[in-house]
Symmetry: C2
Subunit: 119 residues, 2 copies
């Protein structure tokens, strides 16, 4: 990819919450933008760490033993196997960094599982 | 890591240009902040793609057949093996995403090679 991706502009195209879309590939990793609003499902990714970078809005990542509060420009890495539940009280846009094929609902699966397309 | 990293605050700690510092680990990848100022050396990374996300300032990534111009919030991935030269006319801070052990000067080596520490 010899392309410049403006993350805010790409994220602004998103209409559906909790449906990450791929904006770049880095080796076998995908960089995705997502629109978050409300509470997601509790889940973990047994096979991979997952990075969240908040682009705008506020994100709370609930953990079984606490929570992380992220504002714009804040980054957090959730280690593999750690149960977490992302919650956005308002609209929040994030950049996700994780291996290609990582499923948004992790080991929880269910109706909110999506297969991310490029945007 | 169950820690929230504010990228701007972490990048503001940097005093040396072209000396990336690690802020997070994601599986076997490192996320690094770097202060860029002036022109770096032409180099490529034969073994890996490399992602640049501009946090503040302006970055030009010169390629043998053109250049990419990045403003804050802009992301670019330089594919493995592609020669590039990052140039910042003023001070610019970036987030770099690449496998742990990726050398800043790539295949060029030389005096500007650094072994990144955590910050």
């Amino acid at each position: 990819m010899r392309e410049v991706v403006n993350l805010a502009a790409r994220a602004a195209l998103l209409t559906d919450a909790w449906s990450p879309r791929i904006v770049a590939q880095l080796n076998d990793y995908h960089l995705k933008v997502a629109r978050l609003e409300g509470a997601f499902v509790w889940h973990s990714h047994p096979e991979t760490d997952e990075a969240f970078l908040v682009l705008d809005g506020a994100l709370r990542i609930e953990l079984r033993d606490g929570a992380l509060a992220l504002a714009p420009g804040d980054l957090a890495v959730i280690p593999r196997g750690v149960e977490h539940r992302p919650v956005a009280d308002g609209v929040c846009h994030v950049l996700l960094i994780e291996p290609a094929g990582t499923v948004n609902t992790g080991d929880a699966g269910g109706a909110r599982t999506v297969d991310p397309a490029w945007i």
